[in-house]
Symmetry: C2
Subunit: 609 residues, 2 copies
Amino acid sequence: MKIGALYLGSNKCHFNVWAPHANDIRVKTYFPEEKIIPLAKAGNGYWSGQFYNISPGTRYKYIINNRAEYPDPASNFQPLDVHGPSEIVDHQSFAWTDKGWKAIPLEDYIIYELHIGAFTQGGTFASAINKIPHLKELGITAVEIMPVAQFPGNRNWGYDGVYPFAPHHSYGGPAGLKQLVNELHKNDIAAVLDVVYNHLGPEGNYINQFAPYFTSRYHTTWGDAVNFDDNLNAGVRNYFIQNALYWLREYNFDALRLDAIDKIYDSSPKHFLKELAENVKAFSDEAGVKKILIAESDLNDEIIIRPIDEGGYGLDAQWSDDFHHSLHAIVTGEKEGYYIDFNSVADLAKSIGNNFVYDGAYSVFRNKIHGNSAILRDKKQFVVCIQNHDQVGNRAEGERISSLISFELYKTVSAIVLLSPFVPLIFMGQELYESSPFYYFISHFDSELVQAVRSGRKEEFLSFNWTENIPDPFSEEIFMKSKIRWKLLADEKNAAVFSMYKRLIDIRKKNDQFGIVKNDNLEVAHSEEQKFIRVRFHGTGKEVFYIANLGSGTIELREGVPPGRWKNIFDSSSSQWLGPVVSENTNRLIGGEKIVLYRESFLLFESEI
Amino acid sequence: MKIGALYLGSNKCHFNVWAPHANDIRVKTYFPEEKIIPLAKAGNGYWSGQFYNISPGTRYKYIINNRAEYPDPASNFQPLDVHGPSEIVDHQSFAWTDKGWKAIPLEDYIIYELHIGAFTQGGTFASAINKIPHLKELGITAVEIMPVAQFPGNRNWGYDGVYPFAPHHSYGGPAGLKQLVNELHKNDIAAVLDVVYNHLGPEGNYINQFAPYFTSRYHTTWGDAVNFDDNLNAGVRNYFIQNALYWLREYNFDALRLDAIDKIYDSSPKHFLKELAENVKAFSDEAGVKKILIAESDLNDEIIIRPIDEGGYGLDAQWSDDFHHSLHAIVTGEKEGYYIDFNSVADLAKSIGNNFVYDGAYSVFRNKIHGNSAILRDKKQFVVCIQNHDQVGNRAEGERISSLISFELYKTVSAIVLLSPFVPLIFMGQELYESSPFYYFISHFDSELVQAVRSGRKEEFLSFNWTENIPDPFSEEIFMKSKIRWKLLADEKNAAVFSMYKRLIDIRKKNDQFGIVKNDNLEVAHSEEQKFIRVRFHGTGKEVFYIANLGSGTIELREGVPPGRWKNIFDSSSSQWLGPVVSENTNRLIGGEKIVLYRESFLLFESEI
């Protein structure tokens, strides 16, 4: 059941709010005029009413039991931030011009993750639109937008959102977000939204005044967990399911990325994620277009992405932490935190071959057995990266991978990601060889909360023996420093990386081998001693294989090259990408000939048949 | 990995205890002599050592970090109660004489649930053995023993146990329990033990001194949940899995009944229950005998009993609350607590036909959608009853069903249970028409705890508007009043019920229809208005159907009788069972003839072909 202020046209509006314990619920409008309108009980704890003479733009709150006033839990817009009134939005008024838009299949996704505030100097949906030509030139096929739900103040990663239905006013609100999606579609780019169903932020979190949205049954780092399985859970489940459908329906999003589903606790016979997937599937069937759900999951549990008819929850894909961690650990040599669990080329090979490294193996970091086997799942069900907002911003200094490894290695890991059998994801600026940090930033109004965030972050890094000053998350300077420096493109090295990214994406798009990959047409070999990995794709069409040298020595390989005639079509060490090899390596390879792999280089070969 | 003091014969003993945070672990023996023996780290947080000159009967504790002494978490015997030392048991010394014993298949189980303390005046395993001739005469095929793990004092239901491996000293300890199982087997009766893996009792609960057995991630009515999925969970999982295997191996139990598995919280990719089932299966395969796991579950989640190769957890069966509640609600008219969700003959019919009544339907009592469909599961995967220790003892006054309904109705509900397509369970004394209460009783040493239990119980019943005095659970009188009155057999009415139970069990055993029932050879019809239910079994062999009149009026039925020639083989209203019908109803029925169903009566017909 739809919730919120549902504008029906002709100055008619239907209100529907879930408040099962309330004795009285009224709508109080503030603007353009003050009115108080009582709602009536509508069954199952909902209160509703349909009224005339209410125009879009009307601002309102709900009055509970004639005592306290709060914004709408399903507010579509919070023009005056988290403590202000909600605003009625007419979703019919936006003129979509992406009519010819056809959904891109998941296997063709090449995802670009961005944060609206930090992507551009302007920090708005509109200024992001100005960068679409750059994305189009780059060749990515999907943009994933970090959470936009209204959070307090103008600076926040988005995970402190408290109005899951309201695009942030400082980004440009509902109209701005629709325009961005519309323009992406017109440029053949899919739009993915990051949504948070495992908690709400601490400031402006009024929804518990309406109903038991949280339960003490489970305890998370954010406090009581969202109530997906305790008494009166139906309204809670409906709230988040409606949220998902709302973004797909009113904003034309193609996919949702579900934040940390491991913190969605649910012992019900039907897991919330399964119910969500069923609803999104029903919506897709009705709309005639496949909408996609991608989970961030720390569980390594294959059930999340197993199809419903095989007993799974039926999500389409999930992020692969194991891929990131094993690649990151090899190239940086880091062993802190969860990287202690990843320390070999074998781990990287296993993550590419078997999807999970921890598939029932004992994790030292976790002090427990972790994961189950996902070997039966398709490659396109995993999203991989060498950095994302978390892996960068959750470091004390927010360092990007570009500042942790050499230029040559940077190009090689980029190729491993972009030519992986999985769905690649790059983090904004990665294509520019951006090296300035992406910090953690907040702008709560509540100064006690700000202090709590500051100390929380200090404590977090103290446990890693971090002794230096932690950048202040509340500082506006820190936020400004996190923005992409677009002028980098004028520099030779940055331009070379951008050019190489375009080439790799072009190669990926032109060879179907990188798309629908099944386990039995993928072959992964590696050498721990020589620190190389070889991945061979042999489905139908032109076969390819790559060898990546992750070590600091030159490798001469004779054995280990698959039989047949091969042509080198990409060399990360080529002078074209400012590498040490003067001319592009165009050696034709006949089985038995040797390959020379310069330190930290990546070579891609295509079959000559 | 086995844990505890493992006696190896020839005065040799191997100790193994899990204490991952300890710096030092020693064994301190008290009896027959005082010794201190240091253990060594054995990997994965275990400490172990193998020593000579240690005889069975030796009493010991562990000393942690040279500071505090505690009994063994896996103590096999606590002769001096929960705070005293553990005692080494030689499991090889017991002479089993049940060698010819073959496991009874689950579909042939007719379960008799008993509480060792209340089953006999003696209240011991030995005195229970004296009652085996009675059980044999009755005809039940399995005895389910309420938990025997060491709890504080001599009076307790067993759910406050704190040494899951130690049969209570006041019941007769390890030797007594083995003797009971041995004698049951010699009388062709399977032995089922009720085990508690969702919490430990509050007094004498020292295991958390050794390792993180509990986690604050989940909150239960007993406090922090058992740590099945948080850091260092492997030792916790092993502890309970070893416990299950220990009862099956050392005590020859045939089956385990797992208490309230809905309070076993586990978000791991492999649920603890699945790992347990896998281990029990491996043990069964090795032993060449099928051991059985039966869950008490408040989840109505079919995954618990779905086979592992179909994606389930692989337990064999579960208790069916829905059957009990729907039958109880119809015959008592009660609407308090969870009975509010059951108020029609249709519910009973659905519980018999579809296994779950709440299979995704909205529960008013729970304020949420409850359950999923279990229609694909076999009938033998559900254990049904009209009363058990909980349904009796968790009433403020501990009333048995016999004191809540008429004599005629008592016989009818008995027949519905005993001739159900499921596995029937009767609660001790039920076959004697026992009407004295089965109270809730405890005997903690800690007086503050006793007071807490008293007030907790008062509060619980206050919520049901219970205003009278709640029987004092600490009172010894209350415990004595809960014992079965065996002299009842001398009374005519009680003897008639006992005789009828024997007949019904005999009928069940003689007709395979009641055994392996598939959904497609079961047909359930009912009338809400006339309050009758008809259940027809038509597999191979002699078909049967019964009609039960749960209302207070006579019913004349012409339509609604299946076609064919039928012979009445049981009539609960017959004078033989002190009913109003003078001669036993031996009407042969030809399709079209009418059946007269006296008020509250049950008629069973068998096909004449």
